[in-house]
């Protein structure tokens, strides 16, 4: 592996390891891992692939719950706040990973730790209290059963320090509902892969962190000059103003092109929502934007995209909290054909409060709504609830049933694929999932999106390379020359986007501040300057992208090969989108054409250095990256191409 210099800055220095079965607590040096993969998710992946035996399932005590704070987090590098949470994926059985911002990650570094690795299971509910060198496993019996807001409030009162940062699960995670999130700072969801379910399975309710230490950088004045330059870049970018209003506001224009490209309605029946419903939901005066009372930023973020929302109706009288995303429009509104703005915000905040993943709720429950429409399930199955499209009250009740495993919620909580097997009647065809994880993503129109979501190593999420064309979206220059609906050249963009995200997650830089959004914020050359002056290294842009980022993706790919039987078939979009066309709107008639998709997939595999026919990794490819030990493991299981 490339080791260009000795790391002298940015790291907190230690990895904290906690065994909940025997209460052993220990630390080790971060540097030996960081020299190979810098930090964050990369270190989590390295530990998982090296330490979790391929026979281990997500519910075994040997499953690791890994928190990896990015290498630059704790400094003033713009957007450096992100934490990766990895574990065995409860849906796919392979690599699980999800990424979250806020303030918990920086606090862990100020407490002295870059990563936190949890193994084993507690015998009764516990929470972790980490205050610099003090690490305690505490009784959480009085927190068990509390929602996310209540949990935070009890812990703040009990500990008596307003500066503690809390990661916790809600009732959903406690009840081992598969699509449970780990919530940070109340409102930021680490939602994908079922990490909250793993945390609940370990009977771990919360992780409280307080840090009083410092993060040093290798060349302080030079580093600050680069930070200033990066901030200036963000200030000068025309899209900053839009981002600062919270990006969902783009949809307050019913003609905004995102409505035609990103939206899937009624569980995939069409990709077009009526304009009057768009307007009702997102009208600037009477819709969701009117419920936005402010905007907040994560730690050290120069953009600030978190809306603060308030609703003055509902069970809690006043329902309020941070967060409402484009995904909420895609999921809690369009997926159910609900255009009542207050109902959508309220159901979103309820999802957070109970510690559920929003995408899982939207994709999984809209599937049940469609089964109800088709008569595959009836009121007898739903405890009398009418699951007709647009019924927000039923959605709220179903969210609660899911989190608390009540009635039909118990059936769904063990995963929608398991539920489909029990329901029968061809119900699985209507379930939109990738590698087992329910998905709200669009497939038929944006082809780069379809490719990235379908090939994501963590099962069906868009942040591993999704593109919206090379021209209108994302920083320039980026490779390829393709529009959002093209098949040709799309793989180039997806792989480039995927590589940059690998790097960002190792560094802990937010994807919005990096290469995601339709703006020229931070680019790879900025990352290189921040890394080199901050960590004391001497790395080129090419080394970062073609070595460190490629290692990251290969570690996850190898983990999937070692733990599952995933094949090329699993990298295809959901069957429904290969068979059923968009019914209306400007993209009427669009669907995934399998032959063209497969050509895209061929190119995608080749660009990552994998076998074009099977998608499997190759011996020479892994050896080139210095991953000989992993190549050996794969060879033993017959999961490596010997070329």
């Amino acid at each position: 592996m490339i080791e260009r210099g000795d790391i002298t800055g940015c790291l907190a220095g230690k990895i904290l390891r906690i065994n909940l079965s025997n209460q052993n607590i220990g630390t080790e040096e971060t540097k030996k891992y960081a020299q190979k993969i810098l930090g964050g998710r990369g270190i989590n992946s390295l530990i998982m692939v090296n330490e979790i035996d391929s026979q281990v399932k997500w519910y075994d005590p040997e499953n690791l719950l890994c928190f990896g704070v990015g290498a630059l987090v704790g400094t003033l590098a713009p957007g450096s706040c992100r934490v990766d949470i990895s574990a065995i994926n409860v849906f796919s059985g392979g690599k699980g990973s999800t990424n979250v911002g806020g303030f918990w990650g920086p606090e862990l570094k100020f407490a002295g730790y870059d990563n936190l690795i949890i193994v084993g299971k507690a015998g009764k509910p516990v929470y972790l209290y980490i205050n610099d060198g003090i690490v305690e496993i505490r009784n959480a019996s009085k927190l068990w059963g509390k929602d996310v807001f209540e949990t935070e409030n009890i812990l703040r009162k009990e500990i008596g320090d307003e500066h503690i940062k809390i990661a916790c699960i809600g009732p959903a995670g406690e009840n081992r509902v598969r699509g449970s999130a780990i919530m940070m700072d109340t409102a930021k969801a680490a939602g994908g892969s079922g990490v909250g379910c793993v945390m609940g399975d370990k009977k771990l309710k919360a992780i409280v962190v307080r840090g009083h230490g410092k993060i040093e950088v290798a060349e302080p004045e030079k580093f600050m000059a680069i930070v200033e330059k990066c901030c200036q870049k963000c200030s000068n970018e025309p899209n900053t103003e839009m981002m600062r209003k919270a990006p969902f506001n783009l949809y307050s224009d019913p003609e905004w092109e995102g409505w035609n490209i990103n939206i899937v309605i009624k569980n995939g029946q069409d990709d077009q929502w009526e304009k009057e419903k768009r307007n009702k939901l997102m009208n600037p005066v009477t819709g969701v934007p009117a419920l936005q009372k402010g905007v907040r930023a994560c730690y050290a973020c120069p953009i600030g995209c978190i809306p603060y929302m308030e609703v003055y109706q509902g069970k809690y009288k006043v329902y309020r909290g941070e967060g409402f995303w484009i995904n909420t429009i895609m999921g809690h509104a369009c997926r159910f054909d609900i255009s009542d703005p207050e109902a959508v915000v309220e159901s979103w905040l309820l999802t957070n409060r109970l510690g559920l993943d929003g995408d899982y709720v939207a994709a999984g429950l809209s599937w049940i709504f469609e089964l109800y429409e088709k008569g595959i399930i009836t009121k007898e199955d739903t405890d009398g609830l009418e699951l007709n499209w647009g019924n927000s009250k039923s959605l709220m009740e179903m969210i609660k049933k899911l989190a608390y495993r009540e009635g039909i919620g118990d059936l769904l909580a063990d995963g929608m694929i398991e539920a489909a097997k029990k329901i029968g009647c061809n119900s699985e065809y209507y379930l939109i999932h990738v590698k087992g994880q329910p998905s709200i993503e669009p497939f038929r129109v944006p082809k780069g999106w379809a490719l990235a979501v379908s090939t994501s190593p963590v099962a069906g999420r868009h942040l591993r390379g999704a593109t919206m064309g090379s021209k209108r979206y994302g920083p320039k220059p980026r490779p390829g020359n393709f529009g959002v609906t093209d098949y040709q050249n799309q793989a180039k963009g997806v792989v480039w986007q995927g590589k940059t995200k690998e790097l960002e997650d190792n560094l802990g830089i937010c994807n919005y501040v990096g290469t995601w959004s339709g703006a020229n914020f931070l680019t790879i050359s900025d990352f290189a300057e921040l890394i080199n002056s901050g960590m004391g290294l001497n790395l080129s842009e090419e080394e970062l992208i073609e070595h460190y980022a490629v290692i990251g993706r290969n570690l996850e790919k190898a983990f999937n090969s070692l733990h599952t039987d995933m094949s090329r078939e699993d990298d295809l979009p959901p069957k429904r989108f290969r068979e059923e066309e968009v019914k209306s709107g400007p993209y009427k008639g669009f669907k995934i054409e399998e032959n063209k998709y497969n050509e895209m997939l061929d190119e995608f595999y080749e660009l990552w250095g994998w076998d074009k026919k099977t998608g499997m990794q190759t011996k020479t490819g892994l050896e080139k990256l210095g991953l000989e030990g992993i190549a050996e493991k794969l060879t033993k299981q017959g999961k490596l191409i010997d070329q």
């Binding site: 003033l76 040093e216 309020r320």
Partner: protein, 84 residues
């Protein structure tokens, strides 16, 4: 002179707290900052406090908290002393 914050422009990102700690220590050390920022994500409140350890970034062209606040929420104002 003193440093004031416009609460309407503040996003509670803690950049000012970090930049201040850099002035004092040449490291990122929130506990050694003259500024403390906290926010309650449940009720939306933001607390921003400046302690007496603030030296207005002596030897710097402008206070680092003001310089690095990309939202323009902080500014330096002259203190007007009242005379009897």
């Amino acid at each position: 002179m003193k440093i004031i914050r416009n609460s309407h422009l503040c996003y509670a990102c803690k950049t000012c707290q970090l930049a201040c700690s850099f002035h004092h220590t040449k490291t990122f050390w929130p506990e050694r900052s003259s500024i403390i920022v906290s926010r309650n994500p449940q009720d939306g409140t933001i607390k921003w406090r400046m302690s007496t350890t603030c030296d207005r970034c002596i030897n710097e062209k402008e206070p680092l908290c003001v310089k690095y606040c990309i939202y323009g929420a902080l500014q330096v104002v002259k203190e007007v002393k009242e005379h009897d």
